[in-house]
């Protein structure tokens, strides 16, 4: 169910090109900060892996909610 490391990488379906690492702005509870994520170099669509959403992002949300 989770994205295995050995599986092929995601492509942007609209642009048909591989995602690359790039800086993306993430915002929550009035705070915004840049994060390095996989994104389409042309249209900007971002990929957030399931594991990242469930662990580090969830933790960061809790910290910001309690701030």
């Amino acid at each position: 169910m989770t994205t295995g490391a050995k599986e092929p990488s995601w492509l942007c379906a609209a642009c048909g090109i591989a995602l690359e690492r790039g800086m993306v702005e993430i915002a929550y509870m009035g705070s915004a900060f840049p994060v390095e994520l996989q994104r389409c170099p042309r249209c900007g669509i971002v990929y957030i892996p399931e594991e990242l959403a469930l662990t580090r992002m969830a933790e960061a949300e809790k910290i910001l909610e309690d701030k």
Partner: protein
């Protein structure tokens, strides 16, 4: 929350009150702590603890008159703890080297002590520690005063020599064989007269609080306060200590009377439940004192008195590792933070607001009131984390939307009675709502209406007074338009909300109505199942409803067993207070505990309780299952509907009622693409509070815009879309108008600012 209110609430919790032994001891020896260290065999820690209260632990251990004994709770179940013998053993086994007593820097003032009994030596010890020069005058040739004669046979000379040797090691000057007149000691800044049981006229007016003896700077205490027949070693120590406090204050020019309420022998307000305590007889104390094994056994006999009545019965209170006095303070502090981390948001939002704590608390402290008030403050401060209650509030909004909410008769019509099943019964068993509505019409006449919506309880639990008020106002308007009929309520939570916010409302419980209507068991149901009745926590104080539920269940053939926690003492299923959403892990632990109270099937009259039990694998019936299902026992194993199914059930009920009763059809809103979701994926969605409706929106958005990711060599897509304040991600197979197979979904609240030009 005002500071004064905080203090009132804190004072209601008595867990931190001194136990009866410590309160009764005039120098407040931590008897409970001592016994604990002794039980563990940690004699060094035990004597260190003793030294905080006693200057001469071995002597007191040998001679103490133990006022603690009369108050010891163990006294009623085997005999009071032999505290003095424990103290003596602690000093004997725990203190191998002379103690190091630290002294404050010299204050340049001197005090004379007349008499070297326990009172005089304690005052000398305390004042020397505080940095005063101290001189002890003793008319005999050795230290000890009246202690020696009164304790003959118990006080071995070597114990006294060892304990009193600390006096000279601290630099206290001792003048033996020197009689002194306390009123004629020039050169001293203050005098403490502790000459033993002197004639009463020696100091006719000793202040019982300050020990002032008529002349400024002269203080007196010890046995002379009690007379020769009432010698008490421990009260002598107490006198010396309290007189030393006065002398120190006198020499510093401070008030002698301020803040002295905690001194001396006191009563205890600590409650300790004694119901299940087995007696363990007190040992005989040998003349030479306990061996270390005997001392450990005696320490272990101590009950370690404490209250914790609420913590014992509540998974929430237990899980944060403290007790209400601490929690109230933490919650208050959390509300007061301007900049910094609010560490107690989770504490505040995790309470189920069920009120069991208040039922078991000797002082009726109710954490539900504390948490409810705090949540409202957090909302008003705009500090309430959205993640805590967002899902439940969205569910409430949906229940009150046009998709689900409806009234029969339709606007314009009136009725004399109005069935209000509540949003969760409609979500769980929509056919039962319909059947129950028809049954009420059959029993009470066709003048019974039906109102489908949510009472506003989720908003109440979330501290959202704005949404609560809106729900109540909308309800009130509908209710008036229907001719202000009597309300028939199936859900105890609705009942509580309406009773609190609309106190004039004429309402009655469905269960009382059915009880009075004389619902009888059909023949086939005569030998029904043996079940345990779970009272919903919102019906805790509704004795009539509890009784009606039992009557109905019995008439429908059930053989009832009571759970250990029932009626007023019932336990929450963990949905209350939105605990299920705000702290799901805790909620699962709480419902697990409730489920384990009996291996029998449960029966309840709250559909949310029913479904949560079923969802955790506990067979559970709703009262209406007994009424409307031919195979009621089989119905106990019915799965808990998913959050998506609950929404669909409500919407479908409205469509069915509109189609069937009003003979007008609602438009089929269900033009959504078909989703194929395997049971294991469905379970994950349920755990993550992701609705199929949200998944549909993500897929529709991706298919319409083309914005999705694809994995080469597979037919899978990954798409995300923000719905409200949550971004949902769905990995799926399928294109166009579907059907779509969902492989996984997850969400986050953080917003991704996607730009093409970064």
């Amino acid at each position: 929350m005002e500071k004064q209110r905080l203090q009132e609430l804190e004072n209601q919790c008595i867990q931190e009150c001194a136990p009866p032994c410590t309160a009764a001891c005039p120098v407040h020896v931590d008897c409970r702590g001592l016994a604990l260290f002794m039980a563990r065999g940690d004699f060094a820690a035990a004597v260190k603890l003793l030294r905080k209260a006693l200057p001469f632990p071995a002597v007191i251990g040998a001679v103490c008159d133990q006022p603690c004994c009369a108050y010891c709770n163990r006294g009623r179940v085997g005999g009071a703890i032999e505290m003095a013998a424990l103290e003596r053993a602690a000093a004997r086994f725990g203190e191998t080297a002379p103690p190091r007593i630290s002294l404050l820097p010299s204050r340049g003032k001197s005090v004379a002590i007349v008499g070297s009994g326990l009172s005089g030596l304690t005052a000398a010890f305390d004042l020397r520690k505080k940095g005063y020069s101290v001189t002890v005058f003793e008319k005999d040739g050795r230290l000890g005063g009246s202690l020696r004669e009164h304790a003959a046979g118990r006080l071995f000379p070597e114990i006294a020599e060892k304990d009193f040797s600390v006096i000279e090691s601290m630099g206290i000057e001792v003048r033996l064989n020197t009689a002194a007149d306390p009123r004629d000691l020039p050169g001293f800044d203050a005098v403490y007269a502790a000459p033993g049981a002197a004639p009463a006229h020696a100091f006719p007016a000793i202040d019982p609080l300050t020990y002032e003896a008529g002349t400024p700077g002269v203080f007196a205490g010890g046995s002379l306060l009690r007379g020769s027949g009432n010698y008490s070693p421990i009260f002598s120590v107490s006198d010396g200590r309290r007189a030393a406090v006065s002398i120190d204050r006198f020499l510093q020019g401070a008030s002698l009377t301020a803040s002295r309420t905690g001194e001396g022998s006191l009563g205890s307000c600590l409650y300790t439940k004694m119901d299940a305590v087995a007696p363990v007889p007190a040992p005989c104390v040998p003349a030479q004192g306990f061996t270390n094994e005997a001392a450990m056994q005696e320490g272990a006999r101590c009950l370690q008195c404490q209250c914790l009545e609420c913590v014992k019965v509540c998974t929430y209170l237990e899980s944060f590792g403290g007790y209400p006095k601490k929690y109230v303070r933490e919650i208050y502090n959390n509300l007061s933070i301007v900049m910094g981390v609010r560490q107690s948001n989770t504490l505040t939002n995790s309470c189920s607001l069920c009120g069991l704590c208040a039922e078991v608390c000797p002082n009726d402290l109710n954490m539900a009131d504390v948490c409810s008030e705090a949540r409202r403050t957090m909302v008003s401060q705009k500090r309430m984390p959205a993640s805590a209650h967002d899902f439940a509030l969205r569910d409430m909004a949906f229940a009150n939307s046009d998709a689900c909410a409806m009234a029969l008769p339709a606007p314009g019509g009136t009725c004399s009675r109005l069935f209000f099943p509540g949003c969760q019964l409609a979500a769980s068993a929509p056919d039962h709502v319909e059947k129950c509505y028809r049954l009420l019409q059959e029993k009470l006449g066709s003048d019974v209406g039906l109102l489908l919506r949510c009472c506003g309880a989720p908003a109440d639990w979330a501290g959202r007074d704005d949404l609560l008020e809106q729900a109540i106002d909308e309800f009130g308007e509908l209710h008036r338009s229907l001719g202000s009929p009597q309300l028939i309520l199936a859900c105890p939570s609705c009942s509580r909300v309406f009773k609190r916010l609309l106190p004039g409302l004429d309402s009655v419980s469905l269960w009382e109505i059915l009880d009075r209507a004389g619902i009888a068991a059909p023949e086939a149901k005569a030998a029904g199942p043996v079940v345990c009745l779970h009272d919903p926590c919102s019906a805790r104080h509704d004795d009539a409803v509890q009784e009606s539920a039992r009557q109905i269940a019995a008439r429908l053939g059930c053989r009832l067993e009571e759970l250990p926690f029932s009626r007023r003492m019932t336990a929450c299923c963990s949905f209350g207070g939105l605990q299920w959403f705000a702290n799901n892990k805790l909620a699962r632990a709480g419902i697990g505990r409730r489920m384990r109270e009996s291996t029998r099937d449960y029966l309840t009259y709250c559909s949310m309780c029913r479904d949560l039990f079923a969802g955790q694998g506990k067979r559970c019936l709703h009262m209406l299952d007994l009424l409307f299902e031919d195979d009621a026992p089989g119905r106990a194993g019915r799965a808990c509907p998913t959050w998506s199914q609950r929404r669909d059930n409500r919407a479908r009920l409205k469509r069915r009622l509109c189609a069937g009763i009003k003979e007008e059809t609602m438009p089929e809103t269900d033009g959504r693409p078909e989703l194929i979701i395997a049971p294991d994926v469905q379970a994950v969605l349920e755990e993550r509070f992701i609705l199929t409706h949200d998944i549909t929106r993500v897929i529709e958005h991706a298919e319409q815009t083309g914005r999705k990711l694809t994995r080469p060599g597979t037919d899978r897509f990954l798409a995300h879309h923000r719905v409200g304040s949550v971004t949902y991600w769905v990995e799926y197979t399928g294109t166009g108008s579907g059907p779509f197979t969902v492989h996984t979904a997850y969400s986050h609240r953080m917003e991704i600012r996607e730009r093409a030009d970064i």
